[in-house]
Amino acid sequence: MPLSLSLTLPHKGGGNDSSARVDISHNTNSRLPLPLAGEGWGGGVAASDTVRVERASPTRIASCDAIRPQSELRSSRPPQAGEVKQVYPFVIVAKQHNAILIHSLDEAAAQAGLSIGLPLANARAICPELTVFDADEVADRKTLEDIADWCDRFTPLVALDPPYGLYLDITGCAHLFGGERALLQIVSGALSRRGFAVGAAIASTAICARTLTRHVSGMIVADGEEAEAVSPLPVSALGADDAITAGLRRAGLKTIGDVASRAPHEITARFGAPFTTLLEQALGQGNAPISPRKPLPDYIVEKRFPEPVATDTVIAMNLSALAGMLVTAMDKQGKGARKLEASFFRTDGAVRTISVETGRPMTKPEAIDRLFRERLDALNDPLDPGFGFDLIRLSASRTEIVVQQQRDLDANVHDNDELSALIDRIAARIGGKRVVVHLPEDTHIPERAVLAVPAQHHLAAAAQVAWPERIEDEPPLRPLRLFEKPEPIKVPFATVPDGPPHQFTWRRVTHAVVRVEGPERIAMEWWKQNGDGPTRDYFRIEDEAGLRFWIFRDGLYESEPADAEGEPVPPRWFVHGLFA
C-alpha cells in the first residue's frame, strides 16, 4: 500500500523559521563511487572532499508569533573518522597562488600532522606514503546540487551553503517525518550510507545550525537555547575569516562564549559589524533568511511509495491521481495552475523535474494529465525510472485566480478555450517558443515590423491587435515570404545609376527583369542607437517566368563607401522577399 501524503502550502505565511542544517563531508577515499546522482561522481574516486548540507525550514503556516523551533543539522567538517581505517592517509590538492596546497584531507592525514593549506611538498616530507588527488570544484558543486535535489523531498526550501553545506528550512515539515529527531536521523543516515561524512544540526537560525555542525553532530537546539549550545564551541566554528579567527584567538577569546561575554561595541570596533551580526545570529539573537534554490510553489501534492514504482502505467496512474488532488486543493481557493512541475525522485537519489506551462489557468485534472503525457512522450531522454521512484511530486509553481465565464449559445468562448488547450498541448510537446502568434511593431524596417511571441501568453493580445490596413485596389506592396536575413544577389549593372537592374543572379540562377516598380526608399532608424545604416531602395520585380521578387540596393548611389585603395565599392544588392 503506497503511503500517500499531501501537503498544501499557501503563499509564504508568517515569519517564523526554523532551520535545519546538514553538514556532509564526502569521504573521498571510500571505495564506493557512490553517485548520488550520476554525473558528478563518474570516476570512482572523485575529487571532492566534504559536502555540508544545511537547511532552513519553511515558515509554518502556523500563525503564532511563537518561535519556530529552529533546528540545525550539523556535520563535522573534516571527514569523520569512519569505520574505514585508511592505511594510507590521503589528501586532495589544488593549485592556489602558484603553489600546490592541500585543499582537504582525511582523518588519517590530519592525525599525521597535515593541515589544510600546507604545501604538498611539505606534506610529502612529513608523510611520504600520502595518496594525492586533484581537487575538482565543478564536480563538488555538482554533487552538492544533486544532494540538494535529493533534499527537496523533505522540504521545498533548500538553500546551498557552498562549498560543502546545505540549509533546509524544515518549519512545519518535521512532523511529516516523525519529528525533528527522526528527520535528522533520516537525512544523516541516508547520506552517510552513501559515503558522505555528515554533520547535521537543527536550530532556529541558519547560522546557529551551521556553527553547531562544525563541532557537534546530531544536535537539536530548542528555541531560546542557542547561546547555551553554541557558547562552548571554539571561535573557528563561526566560519568567519581566518584573520578574524586568529585575531580573536590572539585576544584570548577562545570560545564563542568568551566572545559573547564582551560588549558588542568592542567586538564591532575591532572586527567589524558583519562579524557582530554573525555572532548574534549564531547566538540566536538575530536571524537572516536563507535563499532557497527554488521559489516556493503555491501548491504541492506528493505521493510516497514504500515500494518504488518503475512501470509507466503505474507512474501515469499516480500522476493523474496527483493531478486530481492538486486541482481539489486549488479549487478551494478558486485558483488554476499556469505552470506545473512534476518531480520524480528516484530511489538512488537522482531527481528529474518536468514542467509544463499553460496559456490559461488549468482547472481540469484530465487536461493536466494530458499535458504531462504529451510532455513525457516528447522527451528527448525519456524518464528513466532506474530502480524505481519512491516519491512523485506535483507542484503548481504559478497559479491564477480562475475567472468563470458565462458560456453563451455561440460557441465562441468555448472555441477560445479549445484553441488555447491545443496550443498548450503542442507547446508541451515541442516547446512554448515554437508556437507563436504575431504582433505588429512600430517600425518601418521590414524585417523588424513583426514580433513573433509565444502563443500561450499572448493569444488574447494578438487577437485584438490592429494591423495596418491594406490600400484598396493596390497590388500587394509587401512580399508574402520574407527572408530573415536578406540574401545577396549579383547584379552586373543597372540601367541608370539609381535604377533597377536588368538582370540578377540569385542562388545561382539568373533572372531577367521584365517588370519593375520602384524604388521605394526606406531609411534606417538613424535616431536610435546603432540604428544607423545605409538607406535602402526597394524594387518590386517580376522576371521572365512571372516570379516576383522584392530586391533592394543597400546604400544610395554615389554615397558608397570607398575601399582601401580609394575606389568606390559597387553597391550591394539583396533579395529580401518573394511575392506571390
Partner: protein, 264 residues
C-alpha cells in the same frame, strides 16, 4: 472532445456561418473559389473537412504559398488558422510575412504559427490541430520529399479532418506527388502578369494552377488571379492571349539547373 460543437446547435451554426459568408454556394460542404471554370470542375468548389495538396517547385514556393493562403482565406475567413512548418522551410523560402498576408486581404490575427523541429513533429502537430474543431484550417508546409508523409500518414490526416470538420491544406515544396488520400492535388506556378499600361508594373498575384487530381471529377489547368480586395480567385482581367504567355513550353532556367544544385 467538444460537446458543444458536435451538438446539433453548433453544427447548425457552422452551416449558417458558411451560408452567410458565401451566399452563392449551392453545397454547404464546398467553398467556391470564385474562378468559374475551376468551380465547375470541382462541382461547386473546394471540399471542406478534407485534405488538399498543393505542390510547387523549390523556386515557386512563394506562389504556392500565396495560392494556399488564398485557399485558406476562402475556406475559413473568420476562424483561426494554424500554420505548421519546419524550421528548414523558413531558411529555404523565407518566413511567412504578416504584412504580406495583410496585403492579400487575410487577417494575421487569426494565424497561429507552429515551427516544428522536424517532419515527425510537424505531422503530429498537424494531426493534433486537425482534431481541434475550433479551427478553420490547418496548413502543413513541408519542404522536400518527406518519407514520413506516406499513405498511412495522409490517411490519418484525412480522417482527422473529416471527423472535426477542419480543412487540411498541405503545401509541398520541392516534392514529387505521391499516392495520398487528398481530395484534390494542385501544382502551382507563378504566371505572368497580364499586359497592362506601362505605368502599372504589376497587379494582383496570378497563379498558373494545374489541378492534377480530383477524386470526384475531371482535372484542368487555369490561370487564376487572387483578388485581394474581394478575397476570391478570379479569371485574370482582360487577358488577350489565354495561355500563350505562360512558360509551359519553355522550362524555367532554375528547373534545368536544379539537378546540379542537388548534386552539390
Amino acid at each position: 472532445m467538444s460537446t458543444a460543437r458536435t451538438s446539433t446547435l453548433a453544427s447548425l451554426r457552422g452551416s449558417i456561418e458558411r451560408l452567410e459568408a458565401h451566399g452563392d454556394a449551392h453545397d454547404i460542404n464546398k467553398i467556391a473559389l470564385g474562378h468559374k471554370a475551376a468551380d465547375a470542375v470541382l462541382q461547386g468548389g473546394l471540399a471542406l473537412a478534407a485534405m488538399h495538396e498543393v505542390f510547387a517547385e523549390g523556386h515557386q514556393s512563394a506562389s504556392a504559398t500565396g495560392f494556399i493562403a488564398g485557399l485558406a482565406g476562402r475556406v475559413s475567413p473568420r476562424r483561426p488558422l494554424v500554420w505548421v512548418r519546419q524550421d528548414f522551410s523558413e531558411i529555404e523560402s523565407g518566413a511567412l510575412s504578416m504584412s504580406g498576408l495583410c496585403e492579400l486581404g487575410l487577417d494575421p490575427r487569426l494565424l497561429v504559427t507552429v515551427r516544428a523541429p522536424d517532419t515527425d513533429a510537424a505531422l503530429r502537430t498537424a494531426a493534433d490541430a486537425l482534431a481541434c474543431d475550433a479551427l478553420g484550417t490547418v496548413v502543413l508546409e513541408m519542404w522536400g520529399q518527406a518519407r514520413q508523409l506516406d499513405l498511412v500518414a495522409s490517411r490519418k490526416l484525412t480522417l482527422a479532418a473529416a471527423a472535426s470538420g477542419v480543412t487540411a491544406l498541405l503545401l509541398r515544396v520541392a516534392a514529387e506527388p505521391r499516392p495520398s488520400t487528398a481530395e484534390t492535388r494542385w501544382i502551382v506556378r507563378a504566371a505572368h502578369s497580364p499586359p497592362s499600361a506601362p505605368w502599372i508594373a504589376w497587379g494582383a498575384p496570378v497563379f498558373d494552377a494545374h489541378l492534377v487530381r480530383n477524386r470526384h471529377g475531371p482535372v484542368g489547368r487555369w490561370i487564376m488571379e487572387w483578388n485581394c480586395d474581394e478575397r476570391l480567385f478570379s479569371e485574370p482581367a482582360a487577358y488577350p492571349q489565354p495561355l500563350a504567355a505562360t512558360p509551359a513550353h519553355r522550362p524555367h532556367q532554375a528547373a534545368i539547373i536544379q539537378p546540379q544544385r542537388r548534386a552539390s
